[in-house]
């Protein structure tokens, strides 16, 4: 099954409730623990994004920055993400997406990167600092391997551009729920609802919202407006807190992520 089909089936197959998409920084805190964390996330989430740690994460707030730097210090390298995805694919058929800044992809080359991602079993790529205008042949190379290239939309995106992004995205349209970097916020932006309504109007693909969605209440609220809710920093923060306390991060993470999922069932 190719990545676009798997994503489509996921959104269709969950029976009208919004999808929960989790995020984890690959290699944080180290390779083995990050594999256990990803497996735990896949138990409760409908799809998983694994992030490639990067030296200059300009779209990330302090939590994911810190997880990236710690993964890099622990010796994580971009190619390890393919190993991680390969392991996860062995016992899950949920969508697996690779989230990365563009430079590691640029460095490896579009063809080799897409081949390695597809061979590992990934379904799609999310590259937040790569707008479609700068993609070159990435979509062709990804398409040959059945990988979805997911595009992003923001509250600042004007209508005509939103229509273009919605028309070109594959799998779903990733809508930034805040103007700003990743990280937890006390409340959702007032601009979010009108933005997601606008995205809905232009997009025949499912829309998923992420950035700044961190607790069950916010999750439920966003779930009323979107087909999918993406949670990242809150999960990574829960892992950091557990590690800090000298505990195994998996139980705390599992209870948070199942609460998030339950919040999406209640409507």
């Amino acid at each position: 099954m190719d990545g676009i089909t798997r994503l489509e089936k996921m959104f269709e197959g969950i029976g009208g409730r919004p999808a929960l998409i989790g995020f984890h920084t690959a290699g944080f805190p180290d390779r083995d623990v990050s594999l256990r964390i990803c497996r735990a996330l896949l138990d409760h989430c409908d799809a998983l994004e694994v992030g490639i740690p990067f030296s200059d994460p300009v779209l990330d707030g302090p939590v994911i920055q810190e997880s990236s730097f710690r993964a890099l210090r622990a010796g994580f390298r971009p190619r390890h993400v393919f190993g991680l995805v390969g392991e996860l694919r062995k016992d899950s058929d949920k969508p697996l997406l690779i989230m990365t800044y563009y430079n590691p992809v640029h460095r490896m080359g579009h063809g080799p990167f897409c081949r390695a991602a597809a061979e590992a079993g990934a379904d799609g790529l999310l590259i937040p600092d790569l707008p479609p205008e700068e993609m070159g042949d990435l979509r062709e190379r990804a398409g040959e391997r059945g990988l979805a290239v997911v595009l992003f939309a923001s509250m600042t995106t004007p209508d005509d551009r939103l229509r273009m992004l919605a028309g070109q995205t594959q799998g779903f349209l990733y809508c930034f729920a805040v103007k700003g970097t990743t990280g937890m916020r006390e409340s959702l932006s007032r601009e979010l609802a009108p933005f997601l309504e606008r995205a809905r109007r232009f997009s025949s693909a499912p829309i998923a919202a992420g950035l700044g969605v961190s607790n069950p209440e916010q999750c439920r609220e966003v779930g009323r407006l979107a087909d999918g809710v993406i949670v990242g920093s809150a999960l990574v923060k829960a892992i950091m807190d557990a590690l800090e306390a000298g505990e195994d991060p998996v139980p705390a993470l599992s209870s948070l992520v199942s609460a998030l999922r339950d919040s999406l069932h209640q409507d």
Binding site: P78, T156, T157
Partner: protein, 434 residues
């Protein structure tokens, strides 16, 4: 002779026009047809440049581009900017014939383009005044900036104070220590200096942090980027604003000698003073040399020679040369001068390198320090450590080119900010080994 006459005519023509950015915009627009690569639509310089940013910044960058192009064609805007450049910055800055230096070197005549005499002590103010005027015109009430040596931070804080804008400056913790004087100056000018504690804690991370701020604050904040780096339109806009350096230098050299110089030399960190000097000479045959930070060696982390030792990559919104490892992780850099301690470089420089139009070389920390001594001793001018890199290479070139030749060096800033670094370097040098 024929060439001289033509150049003199060109010089006479240039004297009549103000050094505004409008003509530069028109010129570049004209160039799109004949010399693709200098500024193509979408902000590409050949394979370089572009706009590699999160979606949230795409529309604001388009707005900025439109506002800039509109302002650059508005006589009232140009007049206001030119007025400030003249009466506030002190332009035109002199092109100074460094007689004693030239004699000591025993070769070509060295001219110094005295950007160190600009208000605030460096060329950075040419850019920040233009951008802060633009920010005000766009209705933004706050500006943010990154700074390495602190010169751009001081220049932004100055323009913000002048125009009544709120100003926050991001600065790496390492740079705050080695440029403490400039931190204090920024605070005196009413700016808030925000320490950046992540990554290498230098200029690269200050840019990251400013970009993070801007993604969240773009409704009311302008990012006053300090060099010809970043996403389109910054490399073009900053280049246009800094081109006043080269336009003046070209006219002044013609007036003093009746011909164009043989060679231009400027230091390259991000590359704003160098592109400012070079750009108005691109349509001539004048040789141009950009000098990067050679640091303490050619190994990883020992230098800031992005064009000399880097490879093509994407950082801070543009494709250009980059110091990166095999995985595409950005590497740490080293230079004794904070302003050259940066793993990226402006995309137009990448284009000019690949096209062969400009040569890029490197000068070590030690050579730069020697050049500071040389210029202090022969001319009574204390150059910024960044600019000292250009002086050091010009000294080499002067001997190579010999008498009769003429070299213009961009003395991009003054060295007062570096006295602590200079003093500890001297202490180290004088300390007996062991």
């Amino acid at each position: 002779m024929e060439r001289e006459r033509v150049e003199n005519r060109a010089g006479a023509q240039e004297r009549q026009v103000p050094h505004g950015i409008n003509e530069e915009v028109e010129r570049v627009k004209g160039m799109q047809d004949t010399s693709p690569g200098y500024a193509q639509p979408g902000g590409h310089f050949g394979a370089f440049g572009g706009r590699f940013v999160p979606e949230t910044l795409i529309a604001p960058l388009e707005e900025l581009e439109e506002a800039y192009l509109e302002a650059a064609r508005d006589p009232a805007f140009i007049e206001e900017l030119d007025g400030y450049l003249r009466d506030y910055v002190g332009r035109p800055t002199p092109l100074y014939r460094a007689e004693r230096l030239s004699r000591e070197l025993g070769g070509a005549t060295v001219f110094l383009k005295r950007e160190d005499l600009c208000h605030t002590g460096s060329h950075k103010i040419n850019n920040t005044l233009g951008q802060c005027l633009l920010a005000r015109r766009m209705g933004k009430r706050r500006v943010i900036a990154e700074t390495g040596a602190g010169q751009h931070g001081v220049a932004t804080a100055t323009a913000a104070a002048l125009l009544g804008l709120q100003c926050d400056v991001y600065m790496g913790e390492v740079d705050m220590e080695r440029q403490a004087l400039n931190v204090f100056r920024m605070e005196l000018l009413g700016a808030r200096v925000i320490p950046v504690r992540c990554g290498s804690r230098t200029l690269k991370d200050a840019v990251n942090e400013a970009l993070r701020d801007w993604v969240a604050s773009v409704d009311h904040t302008h990012y006053c980027l300090g060099s010809v780096v970043g996403p389109h339109p910054f490399p073009t806009m900053v280049r246009d604003l800094q081109s006043v350096i080269g336009k003046e230098a070209r006219r002044q050299h013609l007036e003093k000698t009746g011909r164009l110089p043989d060679c231009l030399v400027a230091c390259v960190g991000g590359g704003s003073n160098s592109i400012g000097l070079f750009h108005p000479f691109l349509d001539t045959g004048v040789r141009m040399v950009g000098v990067e930070a050679g640091g303490v060696g050619d190994g990883p982390g020992q230098h800031g020679s992005t064009l000399g030792l880097g490879s093509v990559g994407v950082l801070h919104g543009a494709r250009s040369y980059l110091l990166q490892d095999d995985d595409g992780q950005v590497m740490e850099t080293h230079s004794i001068s904070a302003g050259l301690d940066y793993p990226g470089v402006g995309p137009e420089h990448a284009f000019l390198k690949d096209s062969g139009r400009v040569e890029y070389v490197r000068v070590s920390d030690a050579e730069a320090l020697e050049a500071v001594d040389l210029l202090c001793r022969t001319e009574g001018i204390l150059p910024a450590l960044e600019s000292a890199h250009a002086v050091a290479y010009a000294a080499r070139l002067a001997r190579e080119l010999g008498p009769g030749a003429s070299i213009v060096v961009c003395l991009s800033g003054r060295g007062d900010k570096d006295v602590n670094t200079l003093s500890s370097a001297r202490t180290r040098k004088n300390k007996p080994a062991g």
